[in-house]
Subunit: 414 residues, 2 copies
């Protein structure tokens, strides 16, 4: 057995233990994890410094360096996240339905942990802690495979968390880190069907594509957000402007930020100058089709590639459409099926958009920025699913569980 | 674009149409499909005869030939299946929950069709009809890829069903067959992520393994059943005997048949002779461990391979265990996680088995043969999922849907 198989077998073993511990025990373990993180933060900071120095010597980008770097505040934030998760309601054990069949069998569907969850992610050490906490709370063992840039930080964090779990009377192997950060080992992890029940990639489009392409373990695709806002011919312009500005500029680098604006031609000549001025005040680069180019000066003409693209930056591409169905068709064709919004005062258009747009979250008169586990009231999230199987949209604790049928009989045969 | 991409694009287009038609329209289409099948059965029988002749000249097995062969009764049964599905409750549109957030956003989770479903299966033409009916009822377009042995039968059935769908005012492309039955095209279908939302393989372990290994499209694994019955030290022997006999011999070739029997050592010397005699009357071959060999004459000693194996035949392997936890551990290690049963009179043992066995359906005092969409009250099933994502156990119409979040706002920004 290689490193991965050994870790897999241990994780499976730990998962059977975890699936039968009380909510109270898991809560206590999470609180202990939070406390240990803070108590042993010097160990994390020292390890992180090593990662940061290595990364700087390799010349990684400023934004990546920012995501990699930890300080005391960030460690406290991680610990607070664990505490918050500790007090969330435990989803495990709930019987979703139970009914009696004509033959007397009582058939129930019960929520149970998934088992072993694999997380593949990039250079954000806080993901290590967040993911471990959520998986544990839902009764799952987790195998973490973070980016090589954060290796020492992840090692320190996992060692501290696993110690705390173990001191709480739960298996130390509930939280494990893949020590070998090579691509080969990542690929082997993606094919570890015997031990891993689901793989969740967290990171950029390239990482997610690589996992979808190579994994034989079931995957939940997360995160890519080519989100659209459609401004209908019937709408309050000020509301539309506020929603576009918020969705584009409040945090452009996240997946629920708007990347595209579709505007009905009947309001294009009034709305576009209004929104363009506001966007330019925020230094947003505007791209657009020929129609937009006639109305606003100094735009970049959008190419076919633009309609597919998730900029994650101060860039917005605008298209003018002739009617709501053209907007819906454009969205269904080009969207990554994450979040889309219509701004309208028309009842029928609102309903039509909600029913026909094929995305995880569809909004009427609100910013796409709300697609988020916290905002949806889940307390925390492990990611945002853009696929249709198992989970769609923000994934909280419930999405880290599965069900099984439990059947009470008294001798029934068929 | 190749054949598959064209079919994929058409299926996607059809799926958008289907996701917005009324339950009444889908019901009528299904009734028309049923009627057409019967009216045009000569066309199916002629095509099937061609397949049967080809198959016989290639010398396929008797059981495969039986599954391939259609007659008037079987076509009527397919039509009746469609009628039954027509009158099932439409799962689409249900709002599972809706709540108001502190900021006034109303966030609801609505059941919607998955979109485009791919079905890969072997030489059973009735699957063509069953799968098409269920997918349509749940508002999905379907792309069917059956085995080459049933090609002409499938072509006739799909042509009749698609005509009936079209005559009902729904897109003809709602039901499509992949005409090229080569392995290369099957593999291309497994990677058609742009158009297919989920792939469901139906068939033997080899087919399912090939799909899991090669697909980049999300897969729902179905069917393999290495099912166990554990006879506890506290139990009614006659009930235990009846359940074992039923689970093993009522239909040995199906996935919910028992393949393994675990017996507590305290009852082994009394129960094993009793059950062995009954099994041998039904001509079941008994394999067993050394302990069993001491109690029953003329058994085959079971190898490690036996514990993993799904016989799908009149063979049962028996193991004696020292306590319930050994039974649970054995099941969790060797089972295909389909269906397992305990026979016991002990409350704590019943609860322990239900909670700790990690399978899709876990029974107390009943035969594993009940794991079935009809028996569970779903009206029909598309397969039995042995994986943990999205669906677990028998899959009915609900499992052919997904959810999306619909959000009603009045100008909220974040």
């Amino acid at each position: 057995m290689n490193e991965l198989q050994i870790k897999g077998e241990r994780a499976k073993e730990a998962s059977y233990f975890l699936s039968n511990v009380s909510s109270k025990q898991k809560e206590q373990a999470l609180l202990n994890m939070a406390q240990s993180l803070v108590e042993r933060k010097e160990m994390i900071l020292k390890a992180n410094q090593l990662d940061v120095e290595n990364a700087m010597s390799k010349g990684i980008s400023k934004s990546m360096l920012d995501r990699l770097t930890l300080d005391s505040d960030r460690i406290h934030a991680m610990a607070n996240g664990l505490k918050q998760v500790a007090f969330l309601q435990d989803p495990v054990g709930e019987v979703l339905s139970m009914s009696k069949r004509p033959n007397g069998l009582q058939i129930g569907q019960q929520r149970v942990p998934i088992g072993v969850i694999g997380i593949i992610y990039e250079a954000r050490p806080n993901v290590t802690c967040d993911a471990a906490g959520l998986c544990l709370k839902a009764g799952n063992a987790v195998i973490l495979r973070g980016g090589s840039e954060a290796f020492h930080s992840n090692q320190a964090i996992v060692s501290i968390l696993a110690d705390a779990v173990s001191a709480s009377g739960l298996p130390k192997d509930s939280i494990q880190l893949v020590e070998d950060t090579s691509r080969e080992t990542a690929h082997a992890l993606m094919k570890l069907n015997e031990y891993i029940d689901v793989l969740i990639p967290r990171g950029g489009a390239g990482l997610i594509e690589a996992v979808v392409k190579n994994a034989t373990v079931p995957v939940i695709e997360t995160g890519t957000g080519n989100c659209h806002i459609y401004v209908d011919e019937f709408c309050e312009m000020e509301m539309a402007k506020a929603i576009v500005l918020n969705a584009k500029t409040s945090r452009p680098a996240v997946c629920n930020a708007a990347e595209k604006l579709l505007v009905h031609e009947n309001v294009a000549s009034t709305f576009l100058p209004l929104v363009a001025e506001a966007l330019r005040e925020k230094e947003v680069e505007i791209r657009g089709d020929e129609y937009v180019n006639h109305i606003i000066d100094d735009i970049v003409i959008a190419t076919e590639e633009d309609w597919h693209k998730e900029y994650l930056d101060y860039v917005l591409a605008i298209k003018v459409v002739r009617h709501i169905d053209e907007a819906i068709a454009h969205i269904n064709q080009y969207s990554s099926h994450h979040s889309e919004a219509i701004v309208t005062t028309n009842y029928h258009h609102a309903q039509r958009f909600l029913q026909r747009v094929d995305s995880a979250a569809v909004y009427v008169n609100a910013s796409t920025r709300f697609t988020d586990g916290e905002e949806f009231g889940f307390g925390a999230e492990i990611g945002i699913s853009t696929q249709k199987l198992h989970a769609r949209g923000p994934m909280g604790l419930k999405e880290l569980t599965t069900v099984k049928y439990i059947i009470y009989g008294d001798g029934q045969i068929r």
